[in-house]
């Protein structure tokens, strides 16, 4: 059993920075975007935005830094986050940009196809000019999503934010959340590597554990990560549960059984719940239980941010859940 005293999370505001999007969903499995059909949306989305919304729902003080356009997609996101308790003062509303969007459709084989307006959206304007030192210096945990690192401007801002957080005694959590196209760009791989150097809590999906390591086995990669200075590694395995590793050992949990309606955002909810619970002083086992409940609950709800939950909702879920 890992030593829960080794936990690097500290109380204080949890801050996420990065893309804020809307998602438009096809309604039929197998629907293509090469012909008209019925869609639903816009839904609030963006991995760091989903993360911070879930953090807010669990009652942790939190803030978001990012950019939206001066349009109703931006209003949708900002009002949603504000309503759920996120400090949105770090979200800039840009006159000459459009809020990012993602169109998603599910294939018969369960895979998803996307059309993105992200790198050409307001979210791509995020730069060091958007950094809020007042928010970052009192930050307990700064959370980075790998999906956010799609421009050099953003990478530069992320590096500066991490430096401010670290200098002031905060910790960094990192969900690689990698789009495979990113690893083909050497500078993107470098950026992920840089973030990892400052990471206290690493939250990869199963297939991502070895992506940034020289070891080819999961165990070898975990050892490398811990040696490198990562204090906790939490591996998200979807329907196969999750695993926790630190210098003192490891622990595993199976997932709760649920019918998958929409996996988008489930990993973000899992990570947010883990970070939030740890920041609130809960031990690893309790934090993992809530994280699994949060992820499981999220896959049962349509819409990327629609599955975020309060502790009351997670407790209700846990009462009738089976592993």
């Amino acid at each position: 059993m890992p030593n829960s005293n080794a936990v690097p999370s500290r109380p204080g505001t949890i801050v996420a920075m990065g893309e804020i999007l809307v998602e438009i969903m096809a309604t039929r499995v197998g629907q293509r975007f090469s012909e008209p059909g019925t869609l639903i949306g816009p839904f609030a989305s963006g991995a760091p935005a989903i993360f911070i919304d879930q953090v807010a729902k669990l009652g942790s003080p939190c803030a978001m830094i990012g950019c939206v356009g001066d349009d109703d997609f931006g209003v949708l996101n900002v009002e949603r986050l504000r309503g759920d308790g996120v400090d949105v003062s770090g979200i800039a509303v840009l006159k000459d940009a459009t809020t990012g969007s993602a169109f998603v459709t599910y294939r018969e084989d369960g895979d998803r196809d996307f059309i993105y307006n992200i790198t050409n959206s307001a979210s791509a304007q995020l730069s060091v000019a958007n950094l809020r030192d007042d928010l970052l210096s009192k930050c307990g945990t700064f959370h980075v999503m790998g999906s956010s690192l799609f421009s050099f401007r953003i990478i530069e801002a992320m590096k500066r934010a991490i430096e401010t957080v670290k200098t002031n005694g905060g910790t960094v959590s990192f969900d690689p959340n990698i789009r495979k196209e990113m690893l083909r760009i050497p500078e993107m791989r470098d950026a992920l590597d840089f973030i990892l150097d400052y990471t206290d809590i690493f939250l990869p999906s199963g297939h991502e554990v070895t992506l940034l390591a020289s070891a080819t086995s999961e165990r070898g990669a975990i050892d490398e990560l811990l040696k490198r200075g990562v204090k906790e590694v939490v591996v998200k395995r979807g329907a196969q549960g999750c695993s926790f590793f630190d210098a003192n050992g490891e622990t595993h949990r199976s997932a709760f059984k649920v019918q998958e309606l929409d996996p988008t955002g489930a990993g973000d909810c899992f990570g947010a719940t883990y970070i939030s619970c740890r920041a609130q002083g809960m031990d690893v086992d309790t934090s993992l239980k809530y994280a699994c409940a949060s992820g499981a609950r999220a896959v049962g709800v349509k819409g990327p941010m629609e599955g975020t939950a309060t502790f009351a909702q997670l407790d209700t879920f846990l009462q009738s859940a089976t592993e």
Copy 2:
């Protein structure tokens, strides 16, 4: 009655150049994009694309120059235009861009609200590199939509295309189709003014007649335009019909009575039908009759490009239509 011998259209390919988009439509009047709802789409769109699709449906040889992303929105547009008979060899498929999109919702008062991804889309990459001299040198009529002139790169390409067309004896038709934001940018107004210098057939909406003239009355502006070298002015007045002016006189038509379902694209269909009929040697009266039928038919169909029609469909419409 104007002298139809003054007509500047000549046989030969009709070419349009500019934005290619998809449109996503809200399904309920008053629906806002600040909350989730049911949408339909994507529908093929973009003013010059709608124009050229309508030209193709009337059997005129035609081609489109523009850019789409390497995505299903691009496939939708290219296959639609190709299927309707447009030469799509001038449409570039860009790897690193997303096909443009527009979200539209109707207010209770009949006005429309949009969220655009156009200036940040593949369509914004259009430049002189996309010009196809083989298409332009054999071009009978080159059609310009003012909505396309949203970047200096595109304006430069448009100027060069017009020079090639004119040098080879082709004519230029111009629908100002102005978004009001554009006139606030002095360079955009200059660009519209430049296009007007080369325009043979000018197709403004009623409120656009005086926008680029020093005269404040419609009649004064028309006289200015004709003196400036425009050979035909066709004023589109929606439900109030249309007016034709040339050096020899004027003629007016009332509109056909239809129930308005979706006005998007109706002006483009009107213009395309007028240009196509004239290029096929029809007289002004017949061309205006078909143009009015085309516009009227288009407002009765949902989807910006869904209302384009063949002569057979226009003749069927005319058999039961009342003015």
